[in-house]
Amino acid sequence: MHRFGQICGALSGAAFSLMLACCAAYAGQTHQVIIQKFEFVPANLTIKRGDTVEFVNKDIAPHTASEESDFLWDTGELVRNQSARIEFTKAGTSKYFCVFHPHMKAEIIVTAN
C-alpha cells in the first residue's frame, strides 16, 4: 500500500510537471536582422509567434524597418549602430521596408507555435 502510494504520488507529480510544461507561455526567442549595405539580412526570416526581432543598423545612412501595409509595426529611425526590438504576437507574413529608401524590402514569416 505504501509502495502503491509512492507510485501514485510520483505519477501525479509527473503529470503536474507535464501539465505545467504543456501550458506554460512560450518564452519566445530573439532573432537579429542586420541592416547593411542598404539590405535587410536575412531578407526572409521565419520565426514563431511570441518571438522578438532585433533590427540593427550598420550603415552610415539612417534606416527604418516599417511594416508595409499600414505601418502595423515600425522601428522608427535607426542611426548607425542603433537597434530596435519588435515582438511579433500574431501569426502571418509581415512584409516591411525602409521608409527612407523604399527599394529596401524584406519579410518576416511568423508561424503559430
Binding site: F38, D59, I60, P62, F100, H101, H103
Partner: protein
Amino acid sequence: MKLIKIAAAAAVVAASFTAPAFAEEKMNDLEIAHTAYTAGNLDIRYAHLALALSENDAVREFASVMIRDHSAVNDEAVALIQKLDVTPQDNGLSQALVKGAAEKRAEFVKLSGKAFDCAYAQNELGYHQIVNQTVEGKFIPWTTVEPLTALLEDALVTFKAHEKHAENMVAGLHCGS
C-alpha cells in the same frame, strides 16, 4: 527607351561636371577628405533648394533623403577628422565644385514646376554618377589612411543607392515628354 533617355540626360548633366577636370591629379588624404565633405554639403544645399521650390512628392522625398543621408555621412567625416586631429585641406577641386554648384543653383532658382523638378533630378543623377566614379575609381585607391578609406567605402554604398534612386526619379518625372 527609358534607359536611353536616362543615359542621355545623365551625359548632358555629367558634362557640366567634367569641366573643372574632376580629380585629374592625384590628391592627398586631407584634400580628399575636404572634397568629399564639400561634395556632400553641396548636395545638401541642392536638396534644401528642392524642398523650397518643388511640390512634387517624389522630388521632395528624394531631397529629404539627401539631407538625411549626406548629413549622416558628413557627421561621420567630422568625427573621424576630430579623432585623427587633422585639418582637411582646401583644394582646386573643392573650389571648382563650390563654384559650379553656385552657378547651378542660380540657374535652378529661375525655374519652377516640372522644369525645376527635371533640372534638379537630372542634376542629381549626373552629380552622383560623377561623384561615385571619382570616389570609387580615384579617392578610395588614393587614400592611405585606413579609417578614411573605410569611411569612403561605406559612403559609396550610400551614394550608389542615391544614384539608383535618382535614376528612378528621373524616369518617373518623364522629363523628355
